[in-house]
């Protein structure tokens, strides 16, 4: 069973000619089939955790370990991590002019699967996945994320999640900027992947709203660059009612 283990992760970023520590000792274990929600206020380091796991060059790991099934993730390049089974659904997916969605998806699936998918079954697979996400077939001929609405970008991220079938999916604020209809469609996509029981999910969010659609097994409160409290789904209800104030104050004094 695939397991992502994060131990005492410290991460810095260069900003304004200074080195700033953003993650200050993150410990977390996510197993295949589990869904963990990471919730926290803006600036708590949630996205830094997501991008650090994916290997974004902006972030420097200063100490700690990350392993996927015992393999050292931090030693891997960005593409190696993806091929090892890590997937990051980004909060701000990047435009790639001149590269069509269909070309991009096929290139990516070829890289992840280790061989080019058979054309006929692949076309069908993409078409069906797009239908499930209420995406028009013309979408495949558009350039990656170019001129996409906020909702289209997120659907496109979840489309990739469905097609690439990672072991660990990190969803970075996938709910931000979505109206209720789009949120439902996107959540249903995530749930289809979860229901296979073959993916571990790390759901990073600021709001509890998405947790009505995607039920987490574990909820962690993130503040000041680390997890300050962990619990079950009931912790989300507490956050819904009380907000983050108690944690941000506590985090400052801790």
């Amino acid at each position: 069973m695939a397991t992502l283990e994060i131990r005492d992760l410290h991460v810095t970023v260069e900003a304004d000619n200074a080195t700033k520590e953003i993650l200050k000792g993150v410990d977390l274990t996510v197993k295949q089939g589990e869904t963990h929600a990471i919730m926290g206020p803006n600036g708590s380091g949630k996205s830094t955790l997501a991008y650090s796991l994916a290997g974004h060059p902006k972030y420097t790991i200063t100490s700690g370990t990350v392993t996927l099934d015992g393999e050292d993730v931090l030693e891997m390049s960005v593409d190696e991590r993806a091929r090892a089974g890590l997937f990051l659904a980004m909060q701000y997916p990047v435009e790639v002019p001149g590269v069509s969605v269909s070309n991009f998806l096929r290139t990516s699936a070829t890289a992840i699967r280790g061989e080019a998918p058979k054309l006929r079954t692949w076309v069908k697979e993409v078409k069906e996945a797009m239908q499930r996400l209420n995406m028009d077939p013309s979408f495949a001929e558009r350039n990656v994320n170019e001129g996409f609405s906020g909702g289209e970008k997120k659907r496109h991220e979840i489309l990739q999640l469905e097609l690439l079938k990672p072991k660990m999916a990190i969803l970075d604020e996938t709910d931000s900027g979505l109206d209720v209809d789009a949120l439902r469609v996107v959540s249903e996509g995530v749930n289809r992947v979860r229901e296979t029981g073959e993916v571990g999910t790390l759901l990073i969010t600021h709001y509890t709203r998405i947790l009505r659609y995607i039920k987490p097994d574990h909820v962690h409160v993130f503040s000041g660059g680390r997890i300050v409290e962990s619990g079950g789904a009931e912790l989300a209800d507490k956050l819904e009612n009380e907000g983050y104030e108690g944690y941000t104050k506590g985090g400052a004094s801790a």
Partner: protein, 394 residues
């Protein structure tokens, strides 16, 4: 490209344009156009038209010291039936009709060539096969003059291939009769040491359309100067360019579209990628809308993708408008670095770095390549772009 700057200037519609008091496009040249090299002083490098060009690498083309030597360059013309191919002397009336040399090297070429090549497509002849002109350098120095003339309502595609090693200065005239359609693809696929300076003159007849595709990959110095004028209303010019400037190369494209006649169109799109130390691309886009050219519709754009440190782009669009009674006029120039966020996004989907780079660069050129409209040329260009990228990765 997150860091790209977009500078649209003067993009507007009829009636709302500030009118320039006087054109300076012509006067920015250090001497008026002339067929005689003696009318141009030897450039020193500070002139507006030479300030980007490394004169010391022109192998004497600019100062009269370059001398033609025998079989330096072999020209082979393959034309389908119905097309006339002639070698003529300089007294032939068909030479120089499309334009006059605008700088010293073009005038030097005109003053020094021995025989000109004239390719004629008779009126109303519609070719189904392209005319292929191979210009192959065999290490020598040469001065050339090529004329391609289409009679009224004739249609043709011309592919001019430049390969090998040479020092070549040339003028190429395109004369389009009324209603004619000409597509010219000029590929500069020179060896690394070649020096190629040429002026392209297009004279577009009434209701004629001219499509030029300039593709520059090779050479030490390539400096091309495509110029367009109209002989009657209703003419259309599409000028597409694609360049891939490698380490140490100087590739310069200077364009002039002179809207000297009412109700003509022009659309200029040049895109370039650069990689390696001292890769230098220059793009000058001059568009002049003369006072009498009412109803003009023009747009020009230059985009550059800088793949590595150490490369340099000079991109200068220049639009001069002497009448407000036009349909549209605009220009844009943008130079962006290779976007690391695009690379991260693609790699985060498992795509290895070199393949991700290839996708991005292919994507950058794709839109332009698709506008060429000649599938075999499109495929060849994509293959060539991949080859350039492979060389960079290696």
């Amino acid at each position: 490209m997150a860091e790209a700057q977009n500078i649209p200037v003067g993009s507007t519609t009829a009636g709302s344009i500030a009118v320039a008091a006087e054109s300076t496009v012509a006067t920015r040249m250090s001497a008026p156009p002339s067929f005689d090299v003696a009318d141009f002083p030897v450039p020193h490098g500070r002139e507006e038209e030479w300030r980007f060009t490394p004169l010391e690498r022109l192998r004497g083309l600019h100062d009269g010291t370059a001398v033609a030597n025998g079989d330096g360059v072999k020209v082979d013309v393959q034309a389908p039936q119905g097309v006339t191919v002639e070698a003529v002397g300089r007294d032939d009336a068909r030479l120089g009709k499309a334009g006059t040399p605008a700088d010293r090297v073009a005038a030097q070429a005109y003053s020094a060539f021995e025989k000109a090549s004239v390719v004629t497509v008779p009126k109303e002849t519609v070719l189904t096969e392209p005319i292929r002109i191979s210009v192959h350098g065999e290490g020598g120095t040469a001065f050339g003059h090529q004329v391609i003339e289409l009679g009224a309502f004739a249609e043709a595609v011309v592919v001019i291939d430049h390969t090998g090693d040479a020092v070549l200065a040339a003028n190429v005239d395109y004369v389009l009769g009324d209603g004619a359609k000409l597509t010219v693809v000029s590929v500069q696929d020179w060896d690394d040491k070649a020096v190629h300076v040429a002026q392209h003159n297009a004279l577009i007849g009434r209701d004629a359309s001219f499509k030029s595709v300039v593709v520059t990959f090779g050479g030490d110095v390539v400096r091309l100067h495509p110029r367009v004028q109209y002989a009657g209303p209703g003419g259309e010019a599409e000028l597409f360019g694609l360049y891939f400037t490698d380490q140490g190369q100087h590739q310069e494209h200077r364009l002039l579209v002179d809207h000297n006649v009412p109700h003509c169109k022009s659309n200029v799109v040049y895109k370039g990628a650069l990689q390696g130390d001292d890769a230098h691309a220059v793009w000058i886009g001059d568009v002049l809308i003369e006072a009498k050219a009412e109803g003009t519709d023009t747009y020009e754009m230059n985009r550059n993708l800088v793949l590595t440190d150490g490369a340099r782009v000079d991109s200068v669009p220049n639009l001069e408008i002497e009448t407000g009674e036009i349909v549209g006029a605009g220009h844009a120039s943008a130079t962006g670095r290779f976007d690391d966020e695009q690379l991260f996004y693609l790699m985060a989907r498992g795509i290895p770095e070199h393949e991700a780079r290839r996708l991005v660069v292919r994507g950058f050129f794709a839109e332009l390549v698709q506008q060429i409209g000649l599938p075999d040329i499109e495929e060849r260009l994509i293959a060539k772009i991949e080859e350039e990228l492979e060389a960079a990765v290696a």
